[in-house]
Symmetry: D3
Subunit: 183 residues, 6 copies
């Protein structure tokens, strides 16, 4: 299967192959000048309070949603399993995302609730006091909670899928607060 | 934040709260009769060849795609980082998805290619000879490769997001081959 | 602090220091003849079905037990957190217990219930088809579930403690079934 | 197996089912108001020096104790294996205990010595400078050292068991020093 | 720093840049035709008994060697720590070496002994019954035991270093037995 | 196999067995007075900027080097795989080297380049602000990058081996800067 860089493959937009014309685009900070992957040096950045929230949505059939919510109400562990998968996953981020820095998370919360009649919405919020942000921790936590939901419903509902994993907002650091849809 | 089961919360579809009427829906195999999470007993299932492919899509701005593909062409590690995040993630599935069984993966492949002008498509294929399937390994591998791409482009393209993570096909096991859109 | 082998330390029972008299005691299989730790070679043992159940007891004040069971009844995640800590811990046994072999667990179950008015009883059952047993997986699962309960109640009940972690029964392998109290 | 919350199950002490009468008991900090598990937010707590010691006891037959101490004296790795299992386990606490925060441990020590003629006593001490305490690191370290001892002696002494894992003392943090038996 | 593929960098031997002339060299099995890293598919290979031994040498000053051996003789944990680092490292190979398959190791042994007056020799032997070999498990175990020795002596002996990590022999699999220096 | 401490084994240099004569050598800080392994208490040391660089060399046949550099130039992931194995390995150091402290790495870089006609040179640099140094992180990163290279070339070049893993320089901490060959 020919991937980027394979024989005969051309990047979309045409200009890619020769390199972009002036002005040069902002650099990808995870790649050195020669293209090598690296963990960016954050040693000179100040420690500040950082917070980020990511959102994931699992789409499933209305009957599946009704069943897991019914089960969930009095006694079932399904939502608890997904919350824990998210919390544990957020803590594991530097092990899973190769270029992420290890951060001393001060808080992880995962909230799960129905969204309409055929989806579950997952929100994962992480916080720390550190030299870099916790976006990836929030994204990884939301994605793993969603994967755990999918794992538990896939036997009932083969067409279930994760429909979205995206950052909702973040604060702290030089670039200040950001919220999806506002920039 | 009131989640499922919180005070005043009602499941969508109405019937959920009282439990579904007859006939009873198929059980969630990861929950025991009393709702407790468990790792399903697969000891009596035969070992068969299993294979599954999952798909994830990362949406980004056309300029971002052009830039990373340009970088990717001659020398950049971006695609390699994402492929490895997917391969390593697939191998760690039983650590990450609480109720998954450990499986001796015989193969993991992650392919990444542009899809249109504003997305990267990621396909992760896993195989094993085991008593249960590798759907979660393929899904976890695809999701982690997508998260790694997001990590590397988020500094350039704040609105980038994972737009989808879903199973494309699987084979092996009692239920036989399945392909999205055909059942 | 003088440990075994420290200066002036003598083993209980007297005979220890000079080495036991005839007949020699059965060897510790995890130590080579010169005392070096090793992972025992199980390559020549046949694969058989193995199963083991371990038990742990967490002692707490009656008021604490009443409170967590009240919370547990309608909606709380406390028991689910402990069950998952046990299941995930059982899967990670070869990483945690240095001389354990990696085993393809086919099942892990953790059951938790009140025992009298001031304790929770935890039972962890593991199964596999392998060349060695799953006693350590069951013991590790029970211990980690108990530690997770302790973690959640320690703020309420400082005197809570784990009172016991022991094997209840096992089956499979050359030595056949064994049940505590019967041999 | 009916666990808490299962059909027909009633909490001990009677009052549990309806919830305790006034005054309300102190909350379980690991559960949100709706019962969801969460990693408590410690972002506002000051960093202070924290220290904790936990104790575990492994009970075994006098002959087993004599044998492992004899072996231990000149050359055997048994005590070293248990100490390392405890040290490595303490470092892994946030991976194993779902709601624990990652902490930069500044010290872990595991001491093992005979206690009477039929037990080994294990003490694990951990220290850090952080926003929360190291009780769980000490408890996890003691429990894993005890499990490693059990693993190595179980072939000789089937009735061996872990008889206790409990916190002995802790210091640092808002609540100040605490020592078992003094409060 | 210009790495391979960086601007102005030319491979040694001249022919590299344009690609080798006929006949083509044997392929690197870990790279697909387009250069993408992948975990090789071993699903069609038969399970056979596999065994491999790797060797590492740590060079240190004679005084350091005399000191750690003196300590090691009656009571010290230094050699035990290194043996366990090797055993645990061998078990974690698929987590550490990105393209390695998970294998059910049936045995790991690490032997350490002085070699001349200024070195320690480490030999790590691994075995399994699997579809691929255990060379990387043996190499990783030997390297981690050597790193653990270095960690413990570096405060005494700054010039200590790992002088070699190499495979000594392997058996099992299609290519049959191999021993360094014989082929 | 008789290791140190085994029957009939004598340490080199003669004096070892009885213990060294006066003056006593500097202590091994990882061993307590009775020889027990421990994680050294660094709680009283100040936090300072720390940096270390380690070097590893993989020796291979000139034809192998030419082939992987040719592949590496336009598209191959080989160097990227090795860089990531090094970066991920450096982050995992406290899990792998039993007595290492967990450190919040602020930077990891792995550079790989040909050295002469038959070797690859790997340099791994780590940095942190912490109470202890990052020598082991740099050493572990360099060793794991070298192991990953070996894994990928071993099918082509059976005699390939890691020829060296050593610290090049470090700075920060009480003992100040150090550079190999200068002390």
């Amino acid at each position: 299967m020919a991937g980027p860089g394979g024989p005969g493959w051309a990047p979309p937009g045409g200009a890619g192959g020769e390199g972009p014309a002036a002005p040069p685009p902002p650099a990808l900070s995870h790649l050195a000048a020669d293209g090598s992957a690296r963990m960016v040096d954050i040693g000179d950045k100040p420690e500040t309070e950082r917070r980020a929230t990511a959102y994931a949505r699992v789409e499933l059939r209305p009957a599946t949603l009704a069943q897991i919510c019914a089960r969930g109400t009095p006694k079932g562990d399904l939502f608890a399993v997904a919350r824990l998968a998210g919390i544990l996953g957020a803590k594991r981020t530097p092990d899973l995302i190769p270029l992420c820095h290890p951060l001393p998370l001060s808080c992880v919360e995962v909230a799960i609730e129905p969204e309409g009649e055929a989806a579950l919405a997952i929100r994962c919020t992480c916080a720390t006091r550190a030299r870099t942000g916790v976006e990836m921790e929030a994204m990884t936590g939301a994605a793993l909670a969603a994967l755990a939901v999918y794992d538990m419903v896939k036997g009932l509902d083969r067409a279930a899928a994760i429909a979205e994993v995206r950052l909702l907002e973040k604060s702290g650091g030089r670039s200040g607060p950001w919220r999806r849809g506002e920039s």
